[in-house]
């Protein structure tokens, strides 16, 4: 079965089929089927009306589920989204960025998903639709584990919603990989900082990816950063990483990932603070 729904209602209906698999840009579905047939029912969401594009509302900025990473790179967005744009430029290659979607990145729920740390640091939520209605989940509750999400049968992501950040907010994203392009992260860090007129940090949000089954915010660090002036990297310490649970894999060992996290978090903070 290959469904090509045009409306959200058609899409959720098609997704209710046993074993249905949603296809957005195809950039995760096809690599998972090298040399073996795609036998599950496919629901192609690329032509569902109203799912692609970025809209700025008074309270929030709404990324339609089918918005591509290239759409994000090319959009005019407040500086708080610079980190997200930097992450968008690191998603695979330009070929992948042109097709891969923001919702696909979240639904694939890879620990190394480039989009997740910046979106976590922006307090993003995920809007879901099902045949029975809509709901909104914080991103941190949407991705429930290693390649697991809160999506119920028949449910699709319709948008990613980011509360409108303070105009003073600045952001950054740092990715460590073993080569320059087309690389799965060894580690990622994203930071959003609001700095007050005295040069002190009024609000901080920091997230680390590829060092736990799901990317994590660092709440203790965020709390300690509040009120701080000067180089934020100076206070980053191993104890701030206690929420991470890195593993050994082909890309790096757990120990190296912690070391890299310490460095990358500091770098992302300094970049966001403009003191790198």
């Amino acid at each position: 079965m290959y469904a090509r729904p045009k409306t959200i209602a058609e899409a959720t209906h098609a997704m209710a089929a046993e074993g249905a698999l949603a296809v957005g840009g195809g950039t995760d579905v096809y690599p998972a089927h090298v040399g073996r047939p795609l036998s599950r029912p496919l629901v192609d969401l690329s032509r569902v009306e109203g799912l692609r594009g970025i809209s700025e509302m008074a309270e929030c900025i709404r990324f339609g589920a089918s918005t591509t990473w290239t759409d994000i790179v090319r959009a005019e967005l407040p500086p708080a989204f610079d980190g997200l744009k930097a992450a968008a430029r690191e998603v695979g290659s330009i070929q992948i960025q042109n097709r891969g979607t923001i919702a696909g990145n979240l639904c694939n729920a890879s620990p190394a998903a480039d989009g997740v740390p910046p979106l976590l640091s922006l307090d993003a939520s995920v809007e879901l639709a099902s045949p029975t209605g809509r709901r909104v989940l914080p991103l941190a509750s949407f991705i429930t584990g290693y390649r697991r999400t809160a999506l119920a049968p028949g449910e699709i992501v319709t948008a990613v919603i980011v509360p409108r950040p303070s105009p003073a907010a600045r952001s950054a994203f740092v990715k460590l990989g073993a080569r320059r392009y087309l690389v799965i992260s060894i580690l990622m860090a994203a930071a959003v900082l609001e700095i007050d007129s005295q040069g002190r940090i009024a609000r901080a949000a920091v997230a680390v990816g590829a060092a736990s089954p799901v990317a994590q915010r660092l709440p203790e660090l965020e709390a300690e950063l509040r009120g701080l002036a000067g180089k934020p990297s100076a206070i980053v310490a191993p104890r701030h990483l206690s929420g991470l649970a890195p593993i050994d894999d082909v890309r790096a060992t757990a120990a190296y990932r912690l070391e890299a996290a310490l460095s990358a978090v500091g770098e992302a903070l300094d970049l966001a603070a403009g003191v790198a």
């Binding site: 096809y30 040399g35 192609d44 392009y181």
Partner: protein, 909 residues
């Protein structure tokens, strides 16, 4: 039904909506310019434009193309920008094997449409998603810049007598930039049967087949299952006949993950839809030995009955008195070094097809060794060699792995037993699992020098993980002891090597046959010695470099053409300047440290003390054109061009008169395999001889003397000497069996001698020499290494075509960077191109090539090989640069950030 616009024309086809767009383009729409390298978006070879935006066609469901405008490489010539890019790629030598070229060109068009004058950074961003394994990317970047500027310099075809040394574009390049070159998967007829191998998922396992007849009966479209019992000849193959030990289909037990036990043959749709887990086989997983240490354990399971202790073969070279010299040295150093499995990662996975023609079989496939394929396939099929015809397709990268048989026996057998043509295209995971790798090595070395900086002794032991079957293990074990000294005078020397069998994928040939591993040890040891002696590392090398009159460790004195010293000298100005600059940078930089390292190499061209003749046939046609039967497979390195350049000048007629007869065991005499850096040297010499012989024949025909000049003008041969001009209408002359009015054939086999029990003798008629300088920046906090630049000086004797030589150097350096910093294959893990990483366009720095031309009397016009030489010194130069930057020695490669960081933390103060 899916409708869209393809290259400006409306197309409509009956594809399943979920099928990859790449398959629709290549299959029903017949546009094979779009290449499939991985089906996972990892290589970018399938890049097309969809409504002007670059996309990997392998990731796009065909349904999503509906109503769009798709542009493939075939459509580029219709736009000014596309056509300019194609010309620029050709003129610059940006296409070598050419398999990535369509993807590169399409990605570059997308860039130029958005950005008319892109910066280098933008070019890299735009092309970062397309992998190239041949070029090192530099010429690709230059070609895009040329196209953007509209300044394309295409070298004119040379005048007669001036082909050698001309920077001409490759003669077979037009098809590569047009997307019309036919690789292994590109000429498969529509009505073939398809073949899928059933492969072991365990490193070692027993197995029993279930109900195969029942499997066939319940799978419509599956026509046959092939197993060991279907093989009419012998179920054994191997590139070195006395060592042949690999079964086409394993019997009873599999010895590595990815080994085939059966092949399913069926209609395309049935094979595509096959769920391999339904195949009737029961596996019994057994305990494997995966490392050299485990295999050498006396209690280890024995891989092969004939190889006690799991030792496939040993190599040995010895001269002088090593023990005494080590004891008497003023300074001695020692070290242990380790290298990893490295994957060739050509962008074209193995592909080809076969058909039965009467009692013969024709195999069209991607290969580096047509005659070896023929002979081995014949033995498997129980046929005479002449009953097999091998037609090499264009080869989308080989680097040594396509010397071994892969799919040839499967398609041959399928075509033979079914009577229908049969095709097979490896998936990327299948290619990674089952084809040969670079041998992982564990090396221990001790070296001694005198107080005044003369090398005194070296004692080297190397063990090489050769995997489950011999492949080229014996070659590595024999070549390494000859080369482990490096290009230096080492009066007291002992090198012992072993190729050790394990339950890993077979290790085989990979650009340098073990020598790139040994230099990781030897060139770091030289730096350690120089440091102990307080000598400049480059001066120390120059002081000990081989010369025309000093003996190698096998006792060979070359007599001429030893250019290693010239290579080191050529690096000296930049060495001094860059070392100083790095030290100045480091004085003010805490976290990032720069360093500059050097390494040298020599490498014997051709087989080690074994015959490896090449034969060239060169004919004059009645229409006044020349036919060059050029059997050396061009895998991107340029033999189609270089051999023709040599032949033209030897004959004394214009290169533009030559028509190539491409490798085909029915049409071209044996030019051996494309490996061991032998084609320019060995086949080139055969071409030189054939050219001179043909010239003699033509002169005789005209009764003219040696100094006469030849010219051909529309079917008329004109021979001029001082006094006489003679014209001959070629159509009037008698023709031979090939239809030629004159034809010469010449063979060359390099003069070598067998090595004695101590490895003394003449293993090679000529060596190539080179030295690299690497400049790196190390992030001392995270251990990341960024290569800032490479200067590569190579003595090639004579650069027959400098643009192609540079291409070999730049591509070799890129592979060396990968080997040094990121490439490591672990059987069973990461069998794809996003876990197995090769350098992208952003990982290869500017490379400056310095061509040194110390002619060798053994080679054509003085030329030596360059194919493998180019890769060898890069990794140790980088490792020495890391040490210069940080004081840390990395003894195990790849030097991943993690290993570099560990070395920094444990460095001696």
């Amino acid at each position: 039904m899916i409708s869209f616009t393809l290259n400006g024309a409306a197309v409509c086809c009956d594809a399943s909506p979920a099928v990859r767009l790449s398959e629709v383009l290549r299959g029903p729409l017949g546009q094979t310019g779009t290449k499939s390298g991985c089906d996972a978006g990892d290589c970018g070879a399938c890049t097309v434009l969809i409504d002007g935006e670059a996309a990997c066609a392998c990731l796009v469901p065909a349904a999503q193309a509906e109503g769009t405008c798709v542009t493939t490489v075939e459509g580029l010539k219709a736009s000014a920008k596309g056509a300019r890019l194609q010309q620029a790629f050709l003129a610059r030598g940006a296409a070598q094997c050419g398999i990535c070229t369509p993807g590169m060109l399409v990605a570059a068009v997308a860039l130029l449409e958005r950005e008319a004058k892109p910066t280098r950074a933008l070019i890299k961003d735009a092309l970062g998603g397309v992998l190239c394994r041949c070029t090192g990317y530099g010429k690709i970047i230059e070609a895009v810049e040329d196209a953007a500027r509209g300044s394309i310099h295409a070298e004119a075809m040379p005048e007669p007598g001036h082909a050698v040394g001309a920077r001409i574009a490759r003669l077979d390049g037009e098809a590569k930039v047009a997307g019309t070159e036919a690789y292994g998967a590109d000429s498969i007829p529509p009505d073939v049967l398809w073949v899928r191998a059933i492969r072991a998922a365990h490193h070692r396992a027993g197995f029993r087949f279930g109900d195969i007849e029942g499997f066939i009966a319940t799978h419509p479209g599956i026509v046959r299952v092939l197993t060991a019992k279907d093989i009419p000849g012998r179920n054994i193959f191997g590139v070195i006949p006395p060592f042949a030990d690999q079964p086409v289909f394993a019997e009873n037990e599999t010895r590595f993950r990815g080994e085939a036990i059966a092949a399913v043959v069926g209609e395309r749709q049935a094979i595509d839809g096959l769920d391999l887990s339904t195949f009737p086989v029961t596996w019994e997983e057994r305990s494997p030995v995966l490392t050299i240490a485990a295999a050498l354990d006396p209690a280890a399971p024995q891989l092969q009955e004939k190889r006690p202790g799991n030792i496939l073969v040993r190599g040995h070279v010895e001269t002088g008195d090593v023990q005494a010299a080590l004891a008497s040295g003023a300074v001695t150093v020692e070290g242990s070094f380790e290298t990893a499995f490295v994957e060739h990662a050509y962008i074209e996975p193995e592909a080809g097809w076969a058909r039965r023609v009467g009692d013969r079989i024709e195999i069209t496939a991607s290969t580096q060794a047509p005659y070896m394929d023929r002979d081995d396939t014949a033995a498997i099929m129980g046929l005479a060699p002449e009953a097999i015809r091998i037609i090499p397709s264009a080869c989308g990268g080989g680097f040594g792995s396509k010397l071994d048989l892969s799919l040839q026996p499967y398609v041959a057998l399928a075509a033979w037993v079914t009577g229908r043509p049969a095709a097979m295209v490896y998936t990327r995971p299948e290619s990674l699992q089952s084809t040969t790798k670079r041998h992982p090595a564990i090396m221990r070395s001790r070296m001694a020098a005198t107080r005044d900086g003369k090398l005194l002794a070296m004692d080297f032991e190397g063990d090489f993980n050769t995997g489950a079957y011999s492949s080229w293990g014996p070659t590595v074990a024999n070549r390494v002891p000859v080369h482990a000294s490096g290009p230096y005078v080492v009066p007291n020397y002992r090198a012992n090597t072993r190729a050790v069998l394990t339950h890993c994928v077979p290790s085989g040939a990979f650009r340098g046959f073990g020598v790139p591993q040994t230099v990781v040890a030897q060139e770091q040891m030289l730096d350690m010695l120089a440091e102990r002696l307080g000598l400049d590392a480059l001066d120390f090398r120059i002081r000990n470099a081989l010369t025309d009159t000093t003996p190698t460790v096998t006792g060979q004195v070359m007599g001429d053409g030893v250019g290693i010293r010239d290579c080191f000298e050529a690096l000296k100005p930049q060495w001094t300047q860059l070392r100083r600059a790095a030290e100045a940078f480091n004085a003010t930089s805490e976290r990032f440290k720069r360093g500059v390292g050097v390494a040298g190499m020599f490498y014997g061209c051709g087989n080690t003390s074994l015959p490896n003749p090449s034969t060239i046939r060169f004919g004059l046609k009645p229409d006044g054109r020349l036919s060059l039967h050029q059997g050396a497979v061009d895998i991107g390195q340029g033999s189609n061009t270089v051999i023709a350049q040599i032949a033209a000048d030897a004959l004394g007629l214009a290169l533009s008169l030559i028509d190539l007869v491409s490798p085909d065991t029915d049409l071209t005499p044996d030019c051996g395999k494309t490996s061991a850096s032998r084609q320019t040297f060995v086949t080139g010499t055969a071409a030189e001889r054939a050219g001179r012989a043909l010239r003699q024949q033509l002169l005789r025909l005209a009764n003219a003397g040696e100094g006469a000049t030849l010219s051909l003008d529309s079917g008329t041969l004109v021979v001029r000497d001082d006094t006489v001009i003679r014209s001959m209408n070629l159509a009037d002359l008698p023709r031979d069996a090939f239809g030629y009015v004159q034809c010469a054939e010449a063979t060359f086999d390099p003069p070598t001698s067998p090595l004695d029990a101590n490895g003394q003798g003449v293993p090679y008629a000529v060596y190539g020499y080179g030295a690299h300088l690497a400049e790196v920046e190390v992030d001392t906090r995270l251990g990341r290494v960024h290569v800032l630049g490479i200067v590569a000086a190579h003595d090639v004797g004579r650069a027959i075509n400098p643009i192609l030589v540079e291409g070999q150097i730049e591509g070799g350096v890129a592979q060396g960077i990968g080997m040094a910093l990121m490439e490591e294959f672990t059987p069973g893990r990461g069998e794809n191109l996003h876990d197995y990483l090769i350098p992208t366009i952003g990982d290869v720095p500017p490379i400056q090539s310095i061509l040194v031309e110390r002619a060798s009397s053994a080679g054509p016009f003085g030329a030596k090989g360059i194919g493998e030489q180019a890769l060898i010194p890069t990794a140790p130069a980088i490792l020495n640069a890391i040490h210069h930057a940080t004081g840390a020695r990395v003894m195990q490669i790849p030097a991943t950030p993690e290993r570099v960081l560990a070395a920094i933390k444990t460095r001696s103060p």
